[in-house]
């Protein structure tokens, strides 16, 4: 009797399992990736486009047959830029994922990195500022594709100012936001400017929720700044510049050109506003820009040029997965990423090349853009400049 029951149960299991097995044979296994990203919340403007770029990029990859014959399945978790949510998302996403992506604000980094380390999951930062663990000597599992990088951006901005001032003594001010990353970066810049022989004004720290940027701008103006450098979230960068303009300041301003920079240069038409950026602005109309613009049409509420950070990051992951082959493990993928060389097709000034101890890139490229009133267009001030990352 018991034997008959077992046979019947086995038969039923077979009936259930057979179609599932057939389906599995028809649908190849996926490269499973997890992404914790600030899709909503107060900081989403800078990160939601990265999520949209990834979604669009890998839809195209999957529609074309996937990578090495396998689709890429990315699970997205909205962390709203909140560390607790990011921690929960990382815990959930590391279960079965080959790699974790973080596209969120820096307070989410620690919990996500802790979870990635505990589960030996490679972690790729794309869209947010790169953690120091990605720079040489890099931590084995931490990678970063973001265009801006702490300390390197300041070096490039100050070098640009020195070049523009053509031997004339410069007095420089700095506008930071009241977040550790921005303050530390600009305190470094202040020190570096002194080493370059510039007169410096102590860093002006601006609360992100300031009702009016005028008093902060006034401090910079009255201190006699010829140049002001800002490296902060976009609201403060541009807010201080506009306040300086409102009170009739005549100096030059350089900021890191985050995603809105292209729109804002066009809106403000201010010849004294310079945007330093690692991404080519879409006003250059490169073929890759047209390609992205066409692909994201109808897929996003953001302008196509907001996709540059996420698109580049997706290109790096694509290259890593191709190199990893099939089957791919976390260890293999980390090794693959540590050796990628990605042609960014002009989105950046050159390829993104990672090495065993440099998970940022061997060489980083920058361009400075400003508004040219004569041409009534955004122009680049010179071509790409490069810095070796050591």
């Amino acid at each position: 009797m018991r034997g008959r029951i077992l046979i019947a149960a086995a038969g039923m299991l077979g009936l259930v399992a057979a179609p599932a097995a057939r389906a599995q044979a028809q649908t190849p296994e996926s490269y499973r990736i997890g992404m914790t990203v600030a899709i909503t919340g107060p900081f989403s403007a800078g990160y939601a486009p990265t999520y949209e770029a990834y979604r669009t990029y890998f839809k195209r990859v999957n529609d074309a047959g996937g990578i090495n014959g396998h689709p890429v399945a990315i699970t997205y978790e909205d962390d709203r830029g909140e560390p607790q949510r990011a921690a929960a998302a990382a815990k959930k996403l590391t279960d079965g994922s080959l790699l974790l992506i973080n596209a969120s604000i820096s307070p989410t980094y620690k919990p996500v990195m802790t979870e990635a380390e505990a589960t030996k999951t490679p972690l790729l930062f794309g869209g947010g500022v790169c953690p120091r663990e990605a720079f040489p000597p890099a931590a084995p599992l931490i990678f970063c594709t973001t265009s801006f990088g702490s300390k390197w951006d300041s070096r490039m901005a100050l070098g640009f100012i020195k070049e523009q001032s053509a031997g004339k003594k410069v007095k420089i001010g700095f506008a930071a936001q009241d977040i550790p990353l921005s303050r530390i970066e600009l305190e470094f810049a202040e020190q570096h400017a002194k080493e370059l022989g510039m007169d410096t004004i102590p860093v002006v720290v601006v609360p992100g929720s300031a009702s009016d940027f005028t008093p902060f701008a006034q401090n910079l103006k009255e201190a006699g700044a010829d140049w002001v450098f800002s490296w902060a979230p976009w609201g403060v960068e541009i807010g201080v510049f506009e306040a300086l303009n409102r009170i009739g300041w005549k100096g030059n301003y350089i900021l890191y050109g985050h995603q809105p920079a292209q729109d804002e240069l066009t809106r403000l038409k201010a010849p004294n506003l310079h945007a330093l950026t690692g991404n080519a602005m879409f006003v250059e109309n490169l073929p890759i820009h047209a390609e992205i613009t066409n692909l994201v049409k109808g897929q996003t509420n953001h302008p196509a040029h907001y996709m540059a950070e996420g698109w580049t990051s997706a290109m790096v992951l694509d290259a890593g997965l191709r190199k990893c082959g099939w089957p791919c493990s976390r260890e293999k993928l980390a090794q693959a990423l540590a050796g990628v060389s990605v042609d960014t097709k002009g989105l950046r000034g050159g390829p993104i090349e990672m090495t065993a101890d440099n998970h940022y890139r061997k060489v980083t490229y920058y361009k400075v853009y400003r508004w040219d009133a004569a041409k009534s267009a955004i122009v680049s001030v010179g071509g790409w400049s490069k810095l070796d990352i050591k």
């Binding site: 403007a45 009241d178 929720s209 006034q218 401090n219 809105p260």
Partner: protein
């Protein structure tokens, strides 16, 4: 010094416009409207939407956004606050908190979280205006100050002279007596919400034209709440000196102290006021006990 004074007056005008909204609703209905900051945000986005609909025609877009702000206030009262009549005031306050959250979510849903600039679509510019002693303000800084002066002057005249304004004061001061005299409470409350939403919306329209427009600017409402409490929650006149005081402390902390203090300066002012005169500069003690 002249520049610091000019900036103080500009910031105070913003806080005064917002603070008036808190006081108007509180005086009429004894409800703390904690969605006032979000009504500011909404005003900015209504201007953005009207400017996008009628680009380059500020004469249409600006009044339209102002009227829509006031209508929003009436709708809020009719749809959310009127059904709360008879329930504890605490529940009505929670409704305003929920309203704020919903407004923020709706704004992100409709307009996304990108920073917007209505001025660009209005076809207006915001050039600097030199004042005396080297101080410079923007054109929309002046508009902010002018709007606050006109609004407060209008409100004082309206509340002192007009029959409707007198009825509004009566409803706020002696509710039972006013109801026995046949004053339409719902009409008065709806009007107070309309005026509060109008004041908040106006502040939002000017602020977004002058500085920026993004879903998070509603945080300014929290600072203005401190202003309303410092002035006295039931005193419209108290809003003006309170706004000037809070703005002066804020600007002075940036100019002469630690810039980071400016972020908390409204609440430092509130803390000091609570310690020495908990009912505010011109508020009444009974009202504080009620709160």
């Amino acid at each position: 010094m002249a520049q610091a004074l000019a900036t103080t007056v500009v910031v105070a005008s913003l806080y005064a416009l917002l603070g008036a909204g808190y006081v108007l609703v509180y005086r009429a209905s004894r409800v703390l409207n904690l969605a006032q900051g979000d009504l500011l945000t909404l005003g900015g986005y209504l201007l953005f939407a009207s400017a996008a609909t009628f680009p380059g025609t500020p004469a249409v877009a600006l009044p339209l956004a102002a009227v829509l702000s006031a209508i929003t206030g009436v709708l809020v009262y009719v749809a959310l606050m009127r059904p709360m009549a008879g329930h504890p005031v605490f529940a009505a306050v929670l409704v305003t908190v929920t309203l704020g959250i919903l407004l923020r979510a709706a704004i992100v849903f409709v307009f996304t979280d990108r920073t917007r600039h209505p001025l660009q679509q209005l076809g207006l510019s915001n050039p600097p205006r030199p004042l005396i002693a080297g101080a410079v303000v923007s054109t929309f800084d002046l508009v902010m100050v002018g709007a606050a002066v006109v609004l407060f002057a209008g409100l004082f005249v309206f509340l002192k002279i007009s029959p409707l304004g007198i009825r509004m004061r009566a409803a706020g001061e002696r509710a039972l007596l006013a109801s026995q005299r046949g004053i339409d409470f719902h009409g008065v409350f709806a009007l107070s919400w309309a005026l509060a939403a109008f004041a908040g919306g106006l502040a939002g329209m000017i602020y977004s034209s002058n500085v920026r427009l993004e879903p998070s600017i509603g945080i300014l409402g929290l600072r203005a709440f401190a202003v309303a409490l410092v002035g006295g929650l039931d005193s419209l006149g108290g809003v003006i000196p309170a706004a000037l005081l809070v703005a002066a402390v804020e600007v002075a902390s940036v100019r002469y102290g630690n810039a980071l203090l400016s972020d908390v300066s409204p609440f430092l002012c509130l803390l000091v006021m609570l310690l020495i005169r908990p009912w505010g500069m011109f508020g009444t003690k009974e009202e504080l006990e009620r709160v």
